[in-house]
Symmetry: C2
Subunit: 252 residues, 2 copies
Amino acid sequence: MANSPSGDSVIGRVVRILDTFSADRTVQTASDIGRRAGIPVSTAHRLVDELVTAGVLERDDEHRVRLGMRLWELALRGSTALRLRQAALPHMEAVQAAIREHTQLAVLEQGEALFLERLSHPDAGANITRVAGRLPLHASSSGLILLAHADPAVRDRILSQPLRPLGPGTVTDAATLGRRLREIRRSGVVIAPGSIEAVSTGVAVPIRDAGSVIAALSIVLPRDADPAPAVSALQSAATRIEADLKFSFPIQ
Amino acid sequence: MANSPSGDSVIGRVVRILDTFSADRTVQTASDIGRRAGIPVSTAHRLVDELVTAGVLERDDEHRVRLGMRLWELALRGSTALRLRQAALPHMEAVQAAIREHTQLAVLEQGEALFLERLSHPDAGANITRVAGRLPLHASSSGLILLAHADPAVRDRILSQPLRPLGPGTVTDAATLGRRLREIRRSGVVIAPGSIEAVSTGVAVPIRDAGSVIAALSIVLPRDADPAPAVSALQSAATRIEADLKFSFPIQ
């Protein structure tokens, strides 16, 4: 019932439709969506109509569609992401007030670092992370924290793949990265100069819940800044977030 | 293809499944979901399996499911809600730093005020709003701003329905509410003592984009606080948010 003749489920197609939207592409026609999602145009039009009826997409006066507020509500209202982010936000604000640079919260999702929150100081430098954006685990400071504490199967998979350089400081040798991850587990902190951008240093620490690392908290500093105050602010914030999580609910 | 024999589309059922999750119910079994969504248990199990495969839901060790990080990513990455919220957040932080009470951002969604963001000061008083939560338009200060500037058809519908009291100060008489809305359009501000909770006063102002009111920015004050500093902080923040929106993209 739910499958097309090709065996492609309606749910799979809807996910592919939603996946065509991005920070740089917030409005599209149904035909464009079909083409980008690899769905026949007539099917795309019918599914888009149904998604508009359900409020998942919203249509404008020019018959183009965008992601609906209703989808935002359904995705957030009961989500672990929202509860983790709400627990972290006040402490991220304290970090930002002290260090005055970009402050991020990330989780491990499908082999990448997915950013749940980013606070940006008006005077802060370059930073490519975006809320709901992703970065490779081996290159971003948050990703290195998440990778160091990931399931060994995830670690083995990442280490067996080509490690693409994003910046001049990205570790691209698997043996070196493996040693680096052991060192991160021992020290509890990542300091990654130039790993993504030559002009920046990522600093990150883990956030634990019930003993497991569930997220990474990070700051992007100018390359020449002393990382010590950032490490201290992040560690203090992580401790407070962990305490608040203990009184709220288990994340995993 | 996408419809069950009852004419209920897969998309409609998926929305009903997602709608069973809430801030107080983040983990459920497929059977519970089916019962709450009014979907036969066998169908619910099959749809939940498909949603887990797609990453929209995540399954835990006890075979219960929760909303997935992938759903959060798909809903936010290209969303108007995220871009509006990102434009507003730094200015909401400034309001909160000055007034030290709850600061909220809301939009009109399906005849209610839907809250996109809430910043809470540790010392702030009672406040029932939640991120991704809703409040009635006629009772909340944000809702009154949104209702005053809503499409006349939305206003007529709300004014023709029973206006349920939420607090001792809720306006429940349609003629009085109609006059109040005209006054709000004239003054550009809502000050609503006891409209939701007897101990609080909601204060709200509109945020405009391309001439239209697209959101409301609000503060919840203790009932006996002077609202003047809050009004001034909100108006100044709204002006700055509107300026930032002008340089980003049209919201509607």
